[in-house]
Amino acid sequence: MWKYSIPVVLFALLILMFVKGLDPQRDVNALPSPFLGKPAPEFALPSLNDPSKTVSNATFGNGMAVVNVWATWCVGCRQEHDFLLELAESQAVPIIGLNWRDNQAEAQRWLRDLGDPYIDSAYDGDGRVGINWGVYGAPETFLVGPDGTVLYKHLGPLNRRLWQENFVPHLESAGNTE
């Protein structure tokens, strides 16, 4: 009799796989970041606004930090910009920008015209730091913990709902353990 349950179980597994794989909410291009749970890659770049200053891992400070990869050519970055401004205003967490593969003057103008949500933006003109962070499509947003490990990575434009669902739980659990 147990023999007859095998096809049923296999069929159920198949259905489960389809439900997961065909979820319309799923971003088929999103890849798991190999950095999750690992230390954020070391970097040191000139600041976008003031090239004499350096933006590096030290800029994250001692608490949680958000690293947002953006560029003026990136449509999704324009979409999420208003939310980033809102997030910066709430002062929930410092946002560090990584201006990736961009034109420096245009990027500076973007921040002047649209507002600057970042405590500072690193200027990664040749995209090398982006590669070291495993960036493959802006906008990408990393959440870095107080100990410098990458806790979460989001691909694509952020909004309040996605922030609430994916970032806030990390922020809250860190707040409870402190």
């Binding site: 890849l31 190999p34 593969r101 995209g127 090398r128 590669i131 495993g134 493959y136 499509g137």
Partner: protein, 140 residues
């Protein structure tokens, strides 16, 4: 008709073969050969069904540049693949390594083959024990 078809096919293939990678070749032909092999193995993460050899996304160009530099620095092919997997995960390689999470990809075909063989042997064995009578012969 056949000739026309082959001409059309050839035309199609030649239009696909446009080299995207127009950058200068490495001076050392041995390095260049290794380079050409590597870029065919690396997935363009921005356009996920192309290799970085075939893609003109800027990220593919950046990765080609990094690979060239690493080759000139004397890194081995494995070290270069490690560099990519560390940053982009196993998905970056078209030929994923047989390690940890990807092991199932490599052993699954063998498992399916063994499973099929097991089922086949069982069926044949059972049939062999069946008496050969006129009824079953008539069914055939």
């Amino acid at each position: 008709m056949k000739i026309l078809f082959s001409i059309l096919t050839l035309a199609l293939i030649s239009s696909m073969a446009h080299a995207v990678d127009s950058e200068e070749a490495l001076d050392d032909p041995v390095l260049q050969a290794r380079y050409e092999k590597i870029v065919e193995e690396v997935r363009c993460l921005k356009c996920q069904n192309q290799t970085i050899k075939d893609s003109n996304a800027f990220l593919a160009g950046d990765l080609r540049r990094e690979i060239k530099l690493m080759l000139q620095d004397g890194l081995t092919d494995d070290q270069i693949f490690d560099f990519l997997v560390e940053r982009y995960g196993d998905f970056a390689l078209y030929n994923p390594r047989a390690s940890g999470k990807t092991l199932i990809l490599w052993i699954a075909p063998a498992l399916f083959l063994l499973g099929g063989a097991y089922v086949l042997v069982n069926i044949v064995r059972r049939r062999m024990t069946l008496p050969i009578d006129d009824d079953s012969a008539a069914e055939d």
